[in-house]
Subunit: 152 residues, 2 copies
DNA sequence: TCTAATTAGTTTCATTTGTAACTAGTTGTT
DNA sequence: AACAACTAGTTACAAATGAAACTAATTAGA
C-alpha cells in the first residue's frame, strides 16, 4: 500500500493542502471529540473565544472562516453545555459578547496543551527555521487566497 | 475588518492549515461546481482517475483520503452522468477499474488547466524556491501526519 | 476442500451541513 | 422623524455526510 505515484494532481497545491489538512484535523479531533465530546466547530469556537474573550459571533465567523449558521449552532450548543456564556452588548443590541464559563475555561486549559503537544509531534520532523519558513509561506498564501472575498 | 490578532491559536499549525485549505477549496469549487455541476468529491475522483486510469475505488480512497462511501457515491453519480465508466477486473471479482469516458476526459481537459491557472495565481506571491520549499515541507508533514493510520 | 476471516464496495439511517429566508436591531438619508 | 438599506444572528429545510451494517468475492487455515 501507500503507492507513491508522482502525478500532476499530487503536485497540485490546493489538493495537497486539503488532503493534509483533513488528515491532521481528523487526528486532532480524536482528542477533543472522544475525550470531551466536542465537535471540531465547537472546539474551534472555544479556542478563539478562549484566546479573545468577548468576541461577537461575527468576529468568530471572520476569524475561523466558519459560516454563520455553523457558529450560531456551535455557540448555542456550547451555551447549553455550560461551556460558554453570552452577554448582551451595551453598544449594539444585535450582538452579544462571548466568554468561556469556568467549566469552559477548564476544558480549554486541558485541551489546548494537548493540541500543542500534538502539533509539536507533527512538526518534529522540521527544523525551527523550516517551521518559520512554512508559516511565512502560509501567511502569503492566506493573503492571496481571500483578499476581497466574503464567505458568509 | 481583517483584524490581525496574533494569538496562540492563529499560530497553531493545524488550525492555519485548515482555514487556509477550506478557503482555497471554496474558491476552486467555484470553477467546477458552478460551471460543470461537479461537487468537490466528484471532481477529486475525476482528477485522480484522469491521471491514473484504471484505478480501483479503493485506490482512489487511499490516494484522496476520502472515505469509502464518499468514493462510492461520487463514482456512482459520475457514471450516471456518463463521465466515468467501470470495467470489471479480471483478477478480482470484487473490484472494478475506473476510467474517464470520452465526455469525462473532455471535462477533465477543460477543468484541469483552469485549476492550474488558479494555483499559479495563488502561488504568484511565492518565488520558485519558496514554492519548492513549501512543497517539501508539506511532504514532511504528510509523512508525519498519517504514518500508520487507516482512515477508511 | 470446507470454513473462517478478510477485503471491496454498497446501502441504510441518523446526524451534520449550507443556502436561503427570516427576525430584530442599527445606520443613513431625506 | 420616518423610511429604506444594511448588519447580527437564528431557523427551516433540503442535501451531504459518515458510522455501521450489509453483500459478495477472495484468501487463509485446518
Amino acid at each position: 500500500m501507500n503507492e507513491k505515484i508522482k502525478t500532476r494532481l499530487s503536485a497540485f497545491l490546493p489538493y495537497r493542502l486539503s488532503v493534509l489538512s483533513n488528515t491532521i484535523s481528523k487526528n486532532i479531533a480524536a482528542i477533543y471529540s472522544t475525550e470531551f465530546g466536542l465537535s471540531m466547530w465547537q472546539w474551534r469556537v472555544m479556542a478563539v473565544v478562549g484566546e479573545s474573550p468577548g468576541l461577537t459571533a461575527t468576529q468568530v465567523t471572520n476569524q475561523t472562516a466558519m459560516d454563520k449558521p455553523a457558529v450560531s449552532r456551535a455557540v448555542a450548543s456550547l451555551i447549553e453545555q455550560g461551556l460558554l456564556k453570552r452577554e448582551a452588548s451595551q453598544e449594539d443590541g444585535r450582538t452579544s459578547l462571548l466568554y468561556l464559563t469556568r467549566a469552559g475555561q477548564n476544558i480549554y486549559d486541558r485541551i489546548f496543551p494537548r493540541a500543542l503537544t500534538h502539533e509539536t509531534e507533527l512538526t518534529s520532523g522540521l527544523t525551527r527555521a523550516e517551521l518559520e519558513t512554512f508559516n511565512a509561506l502560509l501567511d502569503k498564501l492566506a493573503d492571496k487566497s481571500s483578499p476581497k472575498k466574503k464567505l458568509w
